[in-house]
Amino acid sequence: MTDSRAHSRFTPDLFRDLYRIRRVEEEIARIYPTDKIKSPVHLSIGQEAIAVAVCRALRPEDIVFLSYRSHAGYLAKGGDLRAMVAELYGKATGCAKGKGGSMHLVDTEHNVMGASAVVGTTIPHAVGYAYAMQLRREPRVVVSFFGDGATDEGVFDESINFAALKHLPILFVCENNGYAIHTRQQQRHFVSNIAERARVRGIASEVIDDDLATLLGRAEDAVASIRRGEGPRLLECLTYRWKEHVGPGEDFHLGYRTREEAEPWYARDAVRLSGEALSPEDRSRVIDEVEKEIAGAIAFAEESPFPERDELYRDVVAEAR
C-alpha cells in the first residue's frame, strides 16, 4: 500500500533528516575503534525512516520518549547534534554532561525525554506524560518509541491498557526489527502480530511495512487522529537492523541471521531512495551541508573538556528551585 500524498513530500528536507542520521551513525562507527567514544552504541542504521516519518508529523511542543537505540529518534525530534556527539565522548558539553552516555540521551528543550537502557522502561513514562498533558488540557501529543523486544515485557501490556483506559493523547511506535539482541521474534511470541495484541487492549493499531511513503502518510494520519482527541494509537513498523545489536559492525558471522535475509531491506533503503528523488544539485547541497555539520559536531566533541571532578556528586539530589 502506497500513500500517494507522501511522494510529493520527498523533499530535500526529508532527505536531509534521513541522510543526517545515517551519516552521524556511520561516523560514530568509524570513530568507535579509536576508543574515543567509551559508550556502548546501539545504532539505528536501517531503521531511520520510522523516527523521521513520525517526528515529521510532530510539532516542536510534542514529546518523544526513546529506548536505548535512540540516536535516530533524538535527532529526528530536533535533539542537539553537538550535545549528542559530546555525550558519546563523555564530555562536559554533552546533553547529560557526560553522565548519561549513548543510552540516556535527553534534550528537554526539544522535548526529547530521557532514554533508558532497560528495555521497555520508558513506555509508561510516555503514558504518564500524556496523562499530565490531558489533565492540564495541553494539546500536545506524546510518542513512545520502542522495539519488538519491549513488547515481551509485562510493562508494555500494563502501559497500553492504562493509556486506552484513560483515552490518552499518545502514539506508540513499535520499531519491529525482528530480533531482541539475537533472538527472533518467532522464538519469543506466540502471537507475532504486535498491532493485534494492542488492538485487543483497545488501541487502534496497524502494521506498516518499510515503505517510506506509506510511513509518512500513516504517521501523519495517526498523529492527526490523536490530536483530534480520538485516543491512543499504535504503529507497528516493520524494519531491519543492519548492524549488530550493540557496536559498530555487522554480525552475520555469528550465524543467527544471514546476509540474504538483509538484502531485500538494503534494496528498500529509505536514505538512498529519498536522495534519488532529488535533483543532483539539491542532493549535493544537502550532502555538503550535512557533512559540514557533522564534522563540526565531532570537532566540538573532541575539543570539549571532560567534566571536572566535582561533577561526580552534582545532581544526585535535585535542589529546590
Binding site: G114, H125, G128, Y129, A132, L135, R314, V316, V317
Partner: protein
Amino acid sequence: MRVTSYVDAIREASDLEMERDESVILFGLDVDDPKAIQGTTKGLAEKYGPSRVFGTPLAEDAMTGVAIGMAMAGLRPIHVHIRMDFLLLSMNQLINIAAKAHYMYGGQLRVPLVVRSMIGRSWGQGAQHSQALYPFFMHVPGLRVVAPTNPHDAKGTLIAAIRDDNPVMYVEHRFLHFQKGPVPEESYVVAPGRARIVNEGRDVTIVGISQALVESLRAARYLESVGVTAEVIDPIWLAPLDMDTIIESVKKTGALCVVDNGWTSCGAGAEIVSRVVENSDRHVRVLRMGFAPTTCPPTPSLEEHFYPNGRTIAAGVYDLVSGARKNWMPDERADLAEIEFRGPF
C-alpha cells in the same frame, strides 16, 4: 494542641497539599474505594475528582513508570501501595529511573514523586505482607526515605515529601496508624535529614526505626527499673540520615543499640552502627536488633518471637550497658503492654 490520629494526619496533609497545589495528584490500588486505605485517602476522590484521585489497575510496574512520567511533566504524584511488599513489582522503575533520572539526564529532568507504602504486622500478615524493605531504598543514591512514627511527623514529613523535587519513599506501619497525638491544624514541614531525641538519657543511645521506635520507648521505661537511662532517638528520615544527632548522643553514652523494624543483615541498623563506629575515636559498644533472621510466620505462637518488643529490647540493652549477660527480662507491665491488632483484616 489538637489531638488526632496518624491516619487523619496523612489524610489532612494530602488534602492541604492538593488544595494548595493542583499539580498534586493521588492514585494507587483502592485509594478511591470505600475503605480509602485505612481512611488515609477518605473524601479526597469526592473533593478533587477522578482525574486527580483514582484507583489503578493492578500494574505496579507500569503505574510506577506512569507516576515517573507524570512527575517529569511537572505533576506531583502520590502513589499509594497498601503493602510495602508490593513495591518489589516497582523496583525497576524506582531504582533504575526514579533514583537516577536527575543525575543521568544531566539535571534536565526531575522526579518529584511520593511513594506511600505500609508495613503490615500481626493477625496473619505472614511472609508477604510484613516486610520492611526500606534498606533497599536507603542503599541507592537519589532516593529519599522517611518513616514517621507519630501523627505530627506523619503530617509534616508527607508535606515535605510532596514539596520535594526528588522521589521520596514514605514508609508507614500498620500499627502506627493507631497512634494518636498532637497535630497542628495548619500546614507545616518536618524537613529531611533531621532526627529527634525523644527521650534523654546518659547510659545508652537507642535508635528506633518506624514502629520499633514505639517499642524502644517502652524499653526505656523498663530500663529505668534497673537504673539505666536511655537516650532514644527517632531518625524520622532514613535518607538523608541525620548522623550528627546520633553520633553526638553516642559520644555522651558510649553505647548504641539500633532497633530496626526489619532484618538486621545489611539493614538500616548496620548502616547506622557502622557510621557511628567510623566516626568515633573511642570504643563504642553496639547492638543491632530487628526481625528474626527468618521469614515472618503468620501463626501467633511463632510471630511473637519474630519481632523485638519493649521487654526484649530492654533485656538486650541491659546486657550491652552492663558488658555481661545478665539474664534479666522485665515482667510485662500493663501500662506498657503492646498494642495488639484486634482484627480481622
